[in-house]
């Protein structure tokens, strides 16, 4: 079963500094600020630790309130803009029976000082020690932060292994997209949240409030976890046994009759009910995505087969256009930002996107100095109209993601963008004054041939040629990332390319583009792709690997300067685990997958059929605008798409080859024009 954890002999720091005196700190209930401030002159970017953001809250702690410390396990400047964390921060602080503060992974220089001085993980809001909280809630959006999760738990003064925790320790909870394969972190996390967090944090608060009120007596931890397991969307891994059959899984089975065999994800039916964040945090120091962010829809049914987000967040739930406008105008006025991003998985697919974009740019209340960015723009929906509007103030970077170099391979991955669509979008951009366009691609995709790989170079060259008709200095940046198959996608059965094969493909492109000065090629380190692959589809046995990488100092693994593949390879070898078996091996149809007991609503049959369609180079259309193919989500959960228009915004075929200009017989809930009842 689970490997026995080693005694803490490999502790990264001196044992006496590892566990701060939690009882003493709890008694004092004082801010750690007087002990933190003297360290700040000795660290890089001290503003990471001060809090004070506009929108930050300093909630009052009370015995009747469940205290959540929401932790983003990465550097402050990456974690602060995370919208999921900010949404839950507001929702919890609005409740009478809960409060939330925030914490981020201290950078390595600060961590060293904290451990040396015995300072535990603290909140940036009131600089309270983690031991003042009942719950440590992690938001996890990437696999390579797993070692940081362990580090934060340890810094909080809590045993990293769930089995070693007692009633005096906070509950360790984790959510985010990575929770859809919870197994690699199962030994360290008490409860996972699967799906949208808006409602479930309230349900959990009610359960945990009872635990807190009962005085957290001996044995109560098991009881509260058992109760949490009854909440839809909550997975408590310690209540499940994993049975193996050699290297394969036989089953993951609940240990008690009242614990669900399969954990279903939570989904909020209507984004309009959740206009969060209402007071987006405005940091005092530079962070990524330093702008107003307004989520315009959640979910995506384009059906790109590599995209985990698009599979696990179905169905599509649009925010009403009026609410988007209000959130943008109020948000800009309150924050003073001059840039707003309309976020979603494919922003140009929002019903009436042209009108919303024009409305924001031309709104007098926005002072005429607002620039707009639309992340995840699909080329088949990017029109001259949108290009004209968004370049009025400032030309933000323009990125398109064809993902694959040939139409054949794009049919395999179901990114149904025709070459003409891409060239049309690029032409729109260059004609409106852009001089550089970024293109995102993946390599190592199923069925990829060298012709497909070299298709990336061909597309990039062609885009430069189009650009030169408009501007002499036209250039293209082509970014190539190695493909990592993700759970709950049709590609979950595919054996990932190994490091040598990915390197070979990158080198093919480098050689081909060597003399092409207008095309700048960038690629993601294939070694990091491999480590991500270990964690992405790992099972519970990978937990020991993550723990060993952490104990050997492997934190901040998504940062190039700290990433070290040998830590991962050594840890795999020392546990007798095969990298090939976990990463590059194709899975069989009848194999039990580590996340089979966690459900995103997608029928396994549907995913397998879609995988077979991929291998046959068959695309499938977007079910928002065409008849339902029953992936399982809407029918299984009794929910529907919420979209304002039955036809695609840009009309046409959207690359599907079908006539999408008429929207009847489409199973969507139509929003009334001009707002909601």
């Amino acid at each position: 079963m689970v490997a026995v954890s080693e005694p803490f002999t490999l502790a990264r720091q001196r044992p006496e500094s590892r566990r701060p005196s939690t009882t003493l700190l709890r008694k004092l209930m004082t801010s750690l600020w007087p002990r933190i401030e003297p360290l700040l002159a000795q660290v890089q970017k001290p503003a990471r630790y001060i809090g004070c953001e506009d929108g930050a809250q300093v909630p009052a702690h009370a015995p009747g309130k469940v205290a959540w410390l929401l932790v983003y396990p990465d550097a402050y400047e990456v974690g602060l803009p995370n919208q999921g964390l900010q949404i839950l921060y507001e929702i919890l602080n609005e409740r009478g029976d809960a409060l939330a503060e925030r914490s981020y992974a201290p950078w390595v220089d600060m961590e060293r000082l904290m451990r040396h001085r015995g300072i535990p993980l603290f909140s940036v809001d009131a600089h309270r020690p983690a031991s003042d909280f009942d719950v440590l809630g992690f938001g996890i959006s990437a696999e390579l932060v797993y070692t940081n999760v362990l580090n934060c738990i340890d810094l909080a003064g809590v045993p990293v292994r769930a089995a070693e925790r007692g009633p005096e320790h906070p509950l360790v909870v984790a959510g985010g997209h990575c929770a859809f394969n919870p197994e690699p972190l199962a030994d360290f996390v008490d409860a996972f949240v699967i799906g949208d967090g808006e409602e479930v944090v309230g349900d959990m608060t009610e359960v945990i409030r009872g635990w807190k009120a009962s005085g957290r007596t001996a044995g109560s931890r098991e009881a509260v976890l058992r109760e949490l397991a009854q909440v839809t969307g909550v997975y408590v891994p310690s209540l499940y046994d994993v049975e193996y059959d050699g290297p394969f899984l036989r089953a993951v089975v609940p240990r008690y009759a009242d614990v669900p065999e399969v954990v279903e994800k939570r989904t909020i039916a209507d984004l309009a009910d959740w206009p969060y964040p209402k007071r987006q945090l405005v940091p005092l120091t530079e962070v990524v995505h330093d702008r107003l962010n307004v989520e315009i829809f959640r979910g995506c049914t384009r059906g790109c087969r590599f995209c985990q987000a698009g599979m696990i967040t179905r169905p599509v739930r649009e925010r009403p256009a009026d609410q988007v406008r209000t959130m943008v105008t109020d948000g800009l006025r309150r924050t003073g930002y001059d840039e707003v991003s309309l976020t979603s998985l494919s922003s140009a697919d929002f019903s009436g996107i042209d009108g919303v974009v024009a409305g924001i740019i031309n709104e007098p209340a926005n002072c005429g100095q607002v620039s707009l960015s639309l992340p995840s723009l699909r080329v088949d929906a990017f029109t001259v109209g949108i290009a004209t509007e968004i370049q009025k103030v400032r030309r933000t970077g323009l990125t398109f993601a064809p993902e694959a170099g040939t139409w054949r391979l794009r049919q395999v991955i179901n990114k149904l963008i025709r070459e003409e669509d891409l060239y049309g979008a690029v032409e729109s951009a260059y004609s409106q004054g852009w001089r550089r366009v970024k293109l995102y691609f993946m390599t190592g995709l199923p069925t990829e041939t060298d012709e497909d790989t070299l298709g990336i170079a061909r597309l990039a060259r062609r885009c430069v040629e189009i650009g030169r008709r408009h501007t002499r200095g036209a250039s293209v940046t082509a970014s190539v990332g190695g493909f990592v198959p993700k759970p709950h996608t049709p590609f979950q059965w595919f054996g990932q390319n190994g490091v040598p094969e990915l390197l070979r493909k990158v080198n093919l492109l480098r050689d081909d583009l060597r003399r092409e000065r207008a095309v700048q090629l960038r690629w993601h380190d294939p070694k990091a792709t491999l480590a991500e692959g270990i964690a992405s589809r790992g099972d519970r046995r990978i937990g020991a690997v993550i723990e060993e990488v952490w104990r050997r100092g492997g934190t901040f693994q998504e940062w190039t300067e700290h990433f070290d593949l040998s830590l991962w390879e050594d840890a795999m070898a020392s546990r007798g685990l095969s990298v090939e078996w976990y990463v590059t091996r194709h899975r069989r149809d009848d194999e039990v997958l580590p996340w089979d007991h966690v459900r995103a609503g997608l029928h396994r049959d549907f995913l397998w059929q879609d995988w077979q369609d991929a291998l046959r180079e068959h695309g499938i259309p977007d079910c928002r605008w065409t008849p339902c193919y029953d992936c399982g989500v809407c029918t299984g959960y009794g929910i529907e798409h919420v979209v304002a228009s039955p036809t695609p915004p840009a009309g046409g075929s959207q690359g599907t080859g079908q006539d999408l200009s008429r929207g009847d017989a489409v199973p969507v809930t139509l929003l009334p024009v001009g707002g909601r009842a």
């Binding site: 600020w33 401030e37 001060i50 004070c52 405005v282 005092l284 530079e286 930002y337 001059d338 100095q369």
Partner: protein, 236 residues
């Protein structure tokens, strides 16, 4: 129309950088709808210029910025002081606003020296007095620093206009130093480190910026009702 603003930076926010403060001001100007002039071109920037950068971690009672407006203001400029403070983060507050005459020079060119207070944690008045005498008695205080990849040596002693023991706080003795800013701004930390490399400084606070010309000396904004009490009368 150009405005000059005096502001303070106190408390936790002292750990933000000069660039961070510039961004805070840009957001505050937009929040109060000040008609700031923008540069042209691909990436328009607001026309705001800051004086001498305050080192990260220092407090200040006397920061300044100049901002150019695209149109004149309705109403008195003083009314901006509370509005700006309300739009700024805790710890950053405007304390005075004045209109600049046409052709007024930039803060970088005009300011000739700054007054600082420096806390010496654990130091008694006697220790502080000895330190002051050592600095004042030194013929030269030479430091070597890297500039554009090359070592550059500087004598900091001529930049010391005055150095005294100002008093003591529970943390330790406090020095007051006036240091020149031309040809470059000398910081109190580097001055004391030139004498004692391992010296540990407590809170460092800029209290004044001075413009001195032809024997006269004044602050970049004249004292006025909204001003902090430390401002001294114009010396001309």
């Amino acid at each position: 129309m150009r405005l000059r603003v005096r502001f303070v930076k106190l408390g936790k926010v002292r750990w933000t950088s000069h660039r961070d403060v510039a961004r805070m001001w840009e957001r505050a100007f937009r929040r109060v709808r000040l008609p700031v002039a923008y540069t042209g071109g691909f990436s328009p920037r607001p026309k705001v210029s800051f004086g001498l950068a305050l080192p990260t971690g220092c407090e200040s009672l006397a920061e300044y910025l100049d901002v150019e407006l695209a149109s004149d203001l309705d109403g008195p400029v003083e009314a901006l002081v509370p509005r700006l403070s309300a739009a700024l983060p805790t710890g950053v507050d405007a304390t005075a606003v004045g209109a600049l005459e046409a052709g007024a020079g930039s803060l970088q060119e005009l300011v000739t020296s700054c007054t600082w207070t420096v806390e010496l944690p654990g130091a008694g008045l006697g220790d502080a007095g000895r330190l002051v005498r050592e600095v004042l008695d030194a013929g030269a205080l030479v430091v070597t620093r890297e500039r554009k990849g090359r070592p550059v040596t500087d004598d900091l002693r001529p930049a010391v206009v005055s150095l005294t023991v100002a008093g003591t706080t529970p943390a330790g003795a406090v020095l007051e130093a006036e240091l020149e800013t031309q040809p470059r701004g000398v910081r109190p930390g580097e001055l004391l480190a030139a004498l004692e490399p391992s010296i540990e400084l407590g809170l460092v606070r800029r209290t004044h910026q001075w413009i001195e010309r032809d024997g006269a000396r004044w602050e970049p904004l004249p004292p006025q009702a909204t001003d902090a009490p430390h401002a001294e009368a114009r010396a001309s």
